[in-house]
């Protein structure tokens, strides 16, 4: 596929790759090569100028906005570099935010969220605001939010960029655990230590 913003040089030109279930793939490369853009294209947040993103063999470029949104809510999990939590809501509210987008009853999402938060050791902060937790905890909370829908595809943009080694280890272990459960995990990273722990590396 090819992608570029209007009146600008294309960021990706005739780029092609496939990602398989059960593998953790690192996307690496120098800054400005379009790593994050690629991740957002794969996550159906952007539309390629030409070409196609296919998921399980189904093309997605002709899907309407609400269909793409549904896809994101049900099929994908997202982990952003700075956690991107809503600072005005509680940690638990943040983790179950996507229940609304998936039309899932809040009570069911809440129970699963508490279970996930317990696995990642942040259940004690359920009623805290994101501003009251550490960077490592915030990223684990973001990880809980990404995993609450048991995503088939987990996309992460520099997930360990702001983390200490111990917190980064927890995040990487979680990625491999998801891959063993059958998910496709795609990680954009500058971190060689993270890239080396992935099953495969795609260089841009």
């Amino acid at each position: 596929m090819t992608f570029g913003y209007e009146h600008q040089t294309p960021i990706l030109t005739d780029w092609s790759a496939s990602f398989n279930a059960g593998e953790v793939v690192a996307i690496t490369g120098p800054s400005g090569r379009g790593k994050s853009t690629l991740l957002y294209l794969l996550g159906l947040m952007l539309r390629p100028v030409s070409g196609e993103v296919t998921i399980d063999g189904s093309p997605t470029s002709r899907l309407r906005d609400f269909q793409r949104a549904k896809f994101r809510a049900n099929t994908f999990g997202f982990v952003f570099q700075d956690a991107a939590l809503d600072s005005t809501r509680t940690v638990l509210d943040n983790v179950i935010e996507t229940a609304l987008y998936r039309d899932e009853p809040r009570a069911a999402a809440r129970a699963r969220a508490l279970e996930l938060m317990s696995q990642f050791g942040v259940d004690m902060r359920a009623t805290a605001k994101p501003g009251q937790v550490s960077g490592g905890q915030a990223q684990r909370i973001a990880l809980c939010r990404a995993l609450i829908n048991s995503p088939k595809i987990l996309l992460a943009d520099e997930p360990t960029g702001n983390l200490d080694p111990a917190s980064a280890e927890i995040v990487v272990d979680a990625f491999h655990h998801q891959a063993r459960l059958g998910a496709t995990v795609i990680v954009v990273t500058h971190d060689p230590a993270l890239a080396i722990r992935c099953d495969r590396k795609v260089e841009l």
Partner: protein, 368 residues
């Protein structure tokens, strides 16, 4: 998830978002409350005054048609039957010639006119149906005072020798005030030889007075039309229309100005809020919120805030009007202002909501 549960989830999320942004929510709520109270304290006061003026004009009988007939005119009570063929009549009654009567217990006391009455609307006075109490009379408070009766009971003796027994008190409507002091005797049903001296017809609306009067004139089967005088309240009805039109137009213009200004302010505040929280909208988009869901979330949020704002503003305005002693507009005016405030505020939120829904997740979530 069914539609009701989805809607409930949407409303809950909108309210939770509103609570999580207390300053912006409070500003929106106060603006809508200010809009409602401004409208109610200006236009509402005008509407209240207009309603009071119209009420005053109406009490003067804007809907009444009065036919006075000399004895030679030969106007019979059977004319009431003919009136049933005319649309737009709310009330009608025919009165016989007045006969002076005095309190039987006070010979030489003050005389009051006693009139026979024919009508299908006696219950409004309230007087029992004609025919049941042939020699019974009902007297207004004025008449009772003139006769020296402290209670609506006693005997009357007419100057022609007839005697009547006062059975009850009349509640004289404003359109019969010119007949005061009023004592009526329900007719015994015989109309053949009876003659009517005053016929009163009340139209359902002021603007129907003219057409009803024209129809009435054509149906008055009398021996000598020159002995009839028909008086209508068309002049008052015209004045009423002018008052209603002028004050109504002033009020509408004021409402338009206040609502327009407030909607611009609400839109500006919301747009500012969207810009401040654009990262949140980008995150919502990335995590699976569709554009229409984000629009719906913001519209429901503003609609809910506007609802509470209109309740607060209307309450404050009602209290202020009550304290200052100004006439209060009718409840339906309050309701209309509230509904309009919610509608205008929600409409003002559409463009900011669309702007929020179009936030680019990549641009908003990217960390430099």
């Amino acid at each position: 998830m069914n539609a009701a549960r989805r809607l409930a989830a949407l409303v809950r999320e909108s309210l939770a978002t509103a609570r999580s942004q207390p300053v912006a929510s409070l500003v929106t709520l106060v603006m809508v409350a200010g809009m409602c109270s401004t409208v109610l304290l200006t236009t509402g006061r005008t509407v209240g005054a207009e309603q009071a003026i119209l009420g005053s004009i109406d009490s003067a009988g804007t809907r009444s048609i009065v036919v006075r007939a000399d004895a030679e005119a030969g106007l019979s009570p059977s004319v009431l039957e003919n009136l049933k063929n005319i649309e737009g009549i709310e009330w009608s009654a025919a009165f016989g010639p007045a006969t002076d009567a005095v309190n039987a217990a006070i010979p030489g006391g003050a005389k009051v006119p006693v009139r026979r009455i024919w009508s299908d609307f006696l219950a409004t006075l309230p007087v029992p149906d004609s025919g049941e109490f042939a020699r019974s009379a009902w007297a207004s408070q004025d008449a009772l005072d003139s006769l020296g009766l402290s209670a609506p009971s006693g005997g009357l003796i007419g100057t022609s020798g007839e005697d009547f027994s006062v059975q009850g008190q009349l509640n004289t409507p404003s359109y019969l005030a010119f007949l005061e002091p009023l004592v009526v005797v329900p007719s015994d049903g015989s109309t053949e030889s009876a003659r009517v001296s005053v016929l009163i017809v009340i139209a359902t609306r002021p603007d129907l007075v003219g057409p009803v009067a024209d129809a009435l004139k054509s149906l008055l089967a009398v021996d000598d039309p020159s002995k009839l005088t028909v008086t209508t309240s068309e002049g008052l009805a015209s004045l009423r229309a002018v008052v209603e039109g002028t004050l109504g137009s002033y009020g509408r213009n004021l409402i338009l100005i206040v609502f327009s200004m407030t909607s611009v302010l609400v839109a500006a505040i919301l747009y500012g809020l969207v810009m401040l929280r654009r990262k949140d909208f980008g995150r919502r988009r990335a995590l699976g919120a569709s554009q229409r869901l984000i629009v719906a979330l913001l519209l429901v949020q503003v609609g809910a805030l506007a609802f509470f704002g209109s309740v607060v503003g209307s309450s404050v305005a009602a209290a202020a009007l009550a304290i200052s002693g100004d006439p209060l507009p009718r409840p339906d005016f309050f309701a209309a202002v509230g509904v309009l405030a919610v509608f205008v505020s929600t409409l003002a939120a559409v463009l900011p909501a669309l702007a929020a829904a179009r936030r680019d997740p990549l641009k908003e979530l990217r960390v430099p």
